[in-house]
């Protein structure tokens, strides 16, 4: 399986969850586990570009697929990914535990809907639980992320932030 562009050997324990494999075998602890039954969305990663719950998958099911975790969005000291940057600017996180899952869901959302409507934002983040923010700042973050991701941004064109 490829994780963040790097090939890794297959996990040896057939019942190892993908979330545990990422966290405890590969040391990618940015993917969090909030409920282990697929409701909270904290463990969301991208599987071949689409958001999935890594606590509802066995690691062996990810073989021959590409997994992207939160650590794969902006390497080391590289500038933050636009979605990460937007969450920072809009105070879209408090304790930060649900945040990687939200960020990965929003990356998936914006890939499908680069300029999401309010309804699309609502649906796009409706699979992730947050106990700190009350979601208002997360909605603002998604709008900001869409603006930052727009090809118009930074080119001084109308419509840019």
């Amino acid at each position: 399986m490829k994780v963040n562009g790097v090939s890794h050997p297959a996990p040896t324990d057939p019942r190892r969850l993908l979330s545990d494999h990422l966290r405890h075998d590969l040391g990618l602890t940015g993917t969090h586990v909030g409920c282990e039954h697929g409701v909270c969305g904290c463990c969301t990663v991208l599987l071949d570009g689409a958001p999935v719950r890594s606590c509802l998958m066995l690691a062996v099911q990810a073989e021959r697929h590409e997994v992207t975790t939160i650590e794969g969005l902006a390497r080391d000291q590289a500038p933050l990914h636009p979605v990460q940057q937007a969450f920072h600017e809009c105070h879209g996180l408090q304790c930060g535990f649900c945040t990687p899952g939200f960020v990965m869901s929003v990356v998936g959302l914006l890939a499908q809907h680069p300029s999401p409507s309010a309804q699309e934002i609502e649906e796009g983040i409706a699979g992730n639980l947050c106990r700190c923010t009350g979601y208002a700042s997360i909605r603002r973050s998604v709008l900001r992320a869409a603006a930052l991701s727009s090809p118009l941004v930074g080119k001084g064109r109308d419509g840019a932030e």
């Binding site: 324990d13 019942r15 190892r16 545990d20 966290r23 405890h24 040391g27 990618l28 602890t29 940015g30 993917t31 969090h32 586990v33 909030g34 409920c35 282990e36 039954h37 409701v39 909270c40 904290c42 975790t69 939160i70 650590e71 969005l73 902006a74 933050l80 990460q84 969450f87 920072h88 600017e89 105070h91 996180l93 408090q94 304790c95 930060g96 535990f97 649900c98 945040t99 990687p100 960020v103 609502e122 983040i125 409706a126 699979g127 992730n128 639980l129 947050c130 106990r131 700190c132 923010t133 009350g134 979601y135 208002a136 700042s137 997360i138 909605r139």
Partner: protein, 780 residues
């Protein structure tokens, strides 16, 4: 003091690592730790009739140890009763592992340590425990009937009883033109932080040193307890709350059994040990709160003015009382809220039930108190045909009435005295912000005003140091669970030292950096640790002025700290960098880089005598403390319009407004987040989340599939305004803000639904099903 950083919407300094996935939560710490699983009681009340048989589990490959009470040197010791009180005549605490009687479903019975969690869970299933079920006492009403006892030696299931009276209630009630009796019921709720609990421990036999990572709200208390239990000096025990994924109260409870068992196992086995709670365990083994039943009698006049109020309530304490009777004391104190009640009598009975113990959950005794008072005022308004807003206006404490002595006991041992506020303005602003009522059927308006005693003592401290680089490090004992401590305290320190907020690095909740303090609870971080930071930073600034004065040949009083320098006021060119002052603060024999040659023995000396003179200490650093004389009282008014679908009973919150007063605001961005999150948690507890205990004491919805924590789809946008009445009790003039958002939401939503649907709302939580039942019972 300048106001450059204080009050500014500074973006959070802690975000970057959290956004990159580089946060460090307890379960992220590995180091090849052994992993654990509890065996927990499936019964809410039962006797363990044989000794627990763990032989098969111990024999399983990969299992390293299985502990039962009989295996522990402290297995027969009751866990600490954290807050004793004279009225808590029958306090009881559980043992680390039960060996005789279990009193709630989820109580720990055995602890399995294995090479990994998967194996530990397999082995836990092999532990044999035979139970004889006993009668279950669930809900406070059943407990009060005392047909069965939770503890055989506690008559009536009564842990504590307390009666307080201000004025003469009997006389005032008898003389009141109007009287009314009301009954209100609030059910248990669950804080449910997204990160459940976790503990990691390592024992170094070489260094004779215990290191514990714990997702706790009080690492300093955990450290003290472990030092006592294991007969170690506190200096040999380090407890760190790293990134904590939300707390909201239950993580201030200590000691959960794992907080002793994980360090004990690490010491016994000579390897790091980690336990991470799963979500189901969190529902059944972590403290909850809010179960109360209130019987109210109110006397009032024809204009709706309160003359006397009597409240007799039952408090669901759960199976044990480790946290004492703080919750019902808070409720007793907070029922009067922002209103003048000349004659007030409150009695509570804290009752044992066969459910997980109760301790503070965001709001801690206040949402129920607010619900009682606000619903009572709505009932008076309805009786008299007076507008609900007008009834409130006629009873509010006025701006000139402060300090206002309510006369009842407070949770810190003092009596309740409101320090400052302006409640009429809160109400006026909220009504203005709410605007006209939307058109349509089944639309209702709700309103609630509250006060919140915040920033309780006893104290917090802080250490602030300027490094030779000019950067500043500061530390305090209380940990952070998302409240942006590292940002707001950097703002406080940066102002005093005249540096950029980015040059201040805060460490919180790490006893290696600051060993003293109490914890993060009661909306007290900004008040206690914030003011301690202020005190320590001022001491550092004074020291910097003194040292620089010698070198600049100036009077310290003529110096100021600004732009990272100490300089002469009015002559900004005459000055020196703060880092250079840090160098001079520490006379050295050996220069070690960083400009320290300036402090060696042959460098120019600004004054005669020994390098350190009487009373001087090396280092540009200081430790300061702040101990509040009493709580400081925040306040606010919430109002909302809701629509209820008369067929499906779906709730639609059309508008929700908040006007809030927490004294001087350190960071409006952070404050907005605290309020928005609090209101969301309030809405969750008012209409979506319900802990469905059955009569056998089983929690039937112990998962996020059935405990309906709201997603974004359920939480509306919230409009917020502020007023600032600075607290006279602390140097920064701040009041707490962490819990405020949640407090009046039940009262507001209940009031609005009552108007929208025309059914009496006297209980929390509500749900579409509950509204359906109420509509059937009260056809319009």
């Amino acid at each position: 003091m300048t106001t450059r950083w204080f009050g500014a919407p500074v973006q959070r300094v802690e975000d970057d690592r959290l956004l990159r996935g580089h946060g460090r939560f307890t379960d992220d710490i590995g180091e090849d730790a052994l992993e654990c699983c509890f065996v927990r009681s499936p019964y809410a009340h039962a006797r363990i009739i044989t000794s627990i048989d763990a032989a098969a589990a111990r024999a399983m490959p990969g299992v390293v140890a299985v502990y039962t009470a009989a295996d522990l040197p402290f297995g027969g010791v009751d866990l600490p009763l954290l807050i004793p009180h004279p009225n808590l005549t029958h306090g009881r605490t559980q043992r680390c592992l039960a060996s005789d009687i279990v009193r709630y479903s989820g109580e720990a019975v055995a602890f399995v340590v294995a090479e990994n969690r998967y194996l530990a869970e397999d082995a836990a299933e092999l532990v044999q425990v035979e139970y004889e079920p006993l009668p279950v006492v669930i809900t406070p009403e059943v407990a009060a009937r005392a047909e069965h006892l939770v503890h055989s030696d506690v008559p009536g299931n009564i842990a504590a009883e307390m009666l307080q009276e201000v004025g003469d209630v009997d006389a005032a009630m008898a003389a009141a033109p109007r009287r009314k009796r009301l009954r209100f019921r609030y059910e248990r709720g669950a804080a449910s932080p997204m990160e459940a609990r976790a503990v990691w421990a390592r024992w170094s036999s070489d260094e004779h040193r215990l290191t514990v990572y714990d997702s706790t709200q009080s690492p300093t208390s955990i450290r003290g307890g472990l030092a006592v239990l294991f007969s170690l000096p506190e200096s040999s025990v380090d407890v760190i709350a790293p990134d904590v994924g939300g707390g909201f109260g239950p993580k201030i409870m200590l000691f959960y059994p794992d907080e002793l068992l994980v360090p004990y196992a690490a010491m016994q086995l000579g390897r790091p040990v980690k336990w991470t709670e799963d979500r189901q365990e969190h529902f059944t083994a972590v403290n909850q709160e809010r179960g109360q039943v209130h019987e109210v009698e109110v006397g009032f006049d024809d204009e709706g003015r309160l003359l006397a109020l009597q409240d007799d309530f039952l408090h669901d304490g759960g199976a044990y009382t480790p946290y004492g009777i703080i919750l019902p004391i808070i409720t007793s104190a907070q029922v009067p809220g922002p209103y003048r009640i000349p004659n007030y009598r409150v009695r509570f009975r804290d009752l044992y039930t066969n459910a997980v113990p109760t301790s503070p959950y965001r709001g801690a005794g206040r949402p129920h108190a607010c619900f009682v008072m606000e619903r009572t005022l709505d009932a008076i308004a309805a009786d008299l045909g007076i507008d609900r807003i007008e009834v409130r206006r006629r009873n509010l404490i006025q701006a000139g009435d402060f300090p206002y002595d309510v006369g009842v006991a407070w949770q810190d041992g003092n009596t309740v005295v409101y320090d400052s506020g302006n409640y009429p303005v809160l109400l006026d602003k909220a009504i203005a912000l709410l605007g006209p009522k939307p058109a349509g059927d089944h639309v209702g308006m709700g309103i609630g005003i509250y006060v919140e005693g915040t920033g309780v003592g006893p104290y917090e401290g802080a250490h602030v140091q300027v490094l030779v680089s000019g950067k500043v490090v500061a530390a305090t004992g209380i940990p952070n669970q998302g409240q942006a401590h590292a940002t707001v305290w950097a703002q406080v320190v940066a102002d005093e030292l005249g540096v950029d907020v980015k040059d201040v690095e805060i460490t919180s909740g790490d006893t290696r950096r600051f060993p003293w303090g109490v914890g993060t609870f009661a909306s007290r971080g900004a008040v206690t640790a914030g003011n301690a930071m202020h005190v320590a930073a001022r001491m550092v600034a004074a020291k910097a002025r003194q040292i620089a004065a010698d070198h600049l040949e100036a009077d310290p009083a003529d110096l100021e700290l600004a732009g990272g320098r100490v300089r002469v006021k009015g002559s900004p060119d005459r000055g020196m960098p703060l880092g250079a002052v840090a160098v001079l603060s520490n006379p050295v024999r050996y220069a070690f880089g960083g400009g320290t040659e300036a402090a060696t023995q042959f460098a120019a000396k600004p004054r005669p005598g020994p390098p350190l003179q009487d009373g001087e200490q090396p280092g540009l650093e200081a430790t300061g403390y702040y101990s509040p004389p009493g709580s400081t009282w925040a306040s606010g008014c919430h109002a909302a319009y809701v629509r209820v679908d008369p067929k499906t009973f779906r709730l639609e919150i059309l508008k929700y407004v908040v006007v809030h007063d927490c004294g001087r605001v350190i960071n409006p961005l952070v404050l907005q987040g605290q309020i928005e999150g609090g209101v969301a948690q309030g809405i969750a507890g008012a209409f979506y989340e319900r802990l469905a205990y059955d009569e056998d004491g089983q929690l039937r919805n112990a998962s996020f599939m059935e405990f309906l924590m709201p997603y974004a789809t359920e939480i509306p946008a919230i409009e917020i305004d502020h007023i600032e009445t600075p607290s006279p009790l602390n140097p920064l003039g701040v009041k707490g803000a962490g819990e405020a958002g949640v407090i009046p939401v039940g009262a507001v939503i209940g009031s609005a639904i009552e108007e929208a649907l025309g059914v009496p709302i006297t209980e929390m939580p509500l749900s579409p099903l509950k509204l359906y039942e109420l509509s059937k019972a009260h056809p319009t």
